[in-house]
Subunit: 324 residues, 2 copies
């Protein structure tokens, strides 16, 4: 994946860059931003790493993660953001994904912007746009960009790119795990990236409360006709000291069973009703089910909300799944 | 890892080989044996795949897995085992690990034997011994052997070697995940191996009963001072229609919590007492604990048995852990 010439020129010509990633940042956003920042540092440039939210706990092992500013801390004089005129968005392609468009008082005057991302887009933002929806991770694009820039692959850069790849390929288990992904991962390990440390930090850093929530969630499981259904109530969050963030990937877990084709996850909302996440294997299209409730998604991963009490919500979802 | 010349000579000179792997076979034993068999087939040789136990469900997706004989089916005329004189042990290094030494009536007269393995050994078996304890998987050694033999890397061979690597590196998360592991995995994907299919088959093929047993096990969890302890009783096996085999890797799961340093798993035995599995992170040495009960293992993974009722067993294990 060759980066566009204009992007290379932009990085070589300018001297100071704000590198921002999306809200609720993950290993691909954080790792890609830091790796690019380190490469620009090698070129003698100054960079400022920016994200609305603090770096999540699981990414704090990444070298350079302590250099991120939030929208609060970036207003301090130490950040000196008013001296920057160039913006690079990483792992997202519009300021709305960074939350930046809603903050008026960051003293940042953008003169030129670039976008490096592998997500779908329906809006044109950025003077330079490098969007590759085929890329398994933005970190893979950063790897190619750094090759073009002639960056020395330090251990710090390798750790950050490896994190992005690990998160977005689900530790080499999603179907975007290509030979190229594995070959680049090998190069990164040669450069010092540590697979076990990365896996433990990114996938095995649950709080005890999250684990207790997981057990309580599994206890609600009902299995019937190849469908597994679990529920989380507000009371369960209270009892375990957790929040909705702690439920990430819970809906994936029941597919560990070979005879489960659809996994349904219902989470009680603060307002009336339930947030429903749907996952399927093979040919079963859950996006169609979600669409019937005004939601959306892809064939094997979709979501919607259902009004009413739990029994009604379960009954409605189940009947639509069985009818399809 | 260069295979010994004598092994290459043996494979090139002889015409018929029995390839056997260990009892309770896993993806590395099955995959390595099939891959070697396919390579020898390319050389015009005949091979017979042998294992005491049937190929496990999770390995049945592997091309060639239906060619395995058990110690029962190999006695039939179709197997024609009496016409074979050469034995290759794969992923084990002594006939006792295959259970073959206990079966008298297999009409098999071994004239020459070879061993290809990455496990520890304290006995010398085999006219030709290729044992590399540094190899992450026997499948990695098979990969190198096939390169030396000039084997064409077919999709069928690639799938089998990939399975061995995946199982023995825990899908690229154990600390044997080297750059070489990832680079060879990339070559195998280029040759047609399918990461997602392999992962789903090998790691996501639980029966519903096993999943219910998992939930029941987690429900027994007690967490204190960085120690997580779970118990499985005979009653739980009965209630879920499962056996001890279904508990594989359960003891690993609590380490998903960042604050858990030791995971203890107690399984009620048919005879008096409990089988105890211990796992730890970092510096904590569970082999020392296990040794105090007459068991053994490594620093981060060990096991032993404890006599008496459940409360006594738990108390004794916990007090030793806290004292160390």
């Amino acid at each position: 994946m060759k980066p566009p010439i204009e992007l290379l020129d932009f990085l070589k010509t300018e001297d100071r860059f704000v590198i921002a990633t999306h809200i609720n940042p993950d290993g691909d956003g954080i790792g890609s931003a830091i790796a690019l920042s380190e490469a620009l540092k090698q070129m003698g440039k100054r960079t400022l790493l920016l994200c609305r939210d603090a770096v999540p706990y699981i990414c704090k092992y990444l070298p350079g993660s302590d250099r991120f500013f939030t929208y609060e801390t970036v207003k301090t004089a130490a950040a000196d953001i008013s001296s920057y005129k160039n913006l690079i968005l990483v792992d997202c392609n519009h300021p709305s994904r960074t939350g930046m468009d809603k903050v008026n008082d960051i003293p940042f005057d953008i003169r030129k912007s670039a976008v490096i991302d592998h997500h779908e887009t329906d809006r044109d933002y950025g003077d330079i746009r490098w969007i590759n929806r085929e890329a398994p991770a933005t970190a893979m694009m950063i790897y190619d960009l750094l090759k073009e820039l002639g960056t020395r692959m330090s251990k710090d850069i390798a750790d950050n790119i490896y994190a992005g790849i690990l998160v977005d390929t689900g530790n080499f288990r999603h179907d975007n795990t290509s030979a190229e992904v594995l070959r680049i991962a090998a190069d990164l390990v040669d450069a010092g990236a540590q697979p076990t440390q990365a896996y433990r930090s990114l996938f095995e850093s649950w709080s005890n409360g999250r684990f207790l929530l997981f057990i309580k969630t599994l206890d609600t499981m009902e299995i019937k006709d190849g469908i597994a259904m679990v529920t989380i109530t507000k009371k369960m969050f209270e009892e375990t000291g957790t929040t909705a963030d702690d439920t990430e990937n819970f809906v994936e877990f029941p597919r560990i069973m070979k005879d489960i084709n659809v996994s349904v996850f219902l989470r009680e909302m603060d307002s009336d009703g339930y947030k429903v996440s749907l996952r399927s294997k093979g040919g079963f299209n859950v996006a169609k089910i979600a669409a019937e409730f005004g939601g959306g998604g892809h064939k094997n991963a979709a979501g919607c909300t259902v009004k009413g009490d739990l029994q009604t919500a379960k009954r409605e979802i189940l009947s639509r799944i069985k009818a399809s």
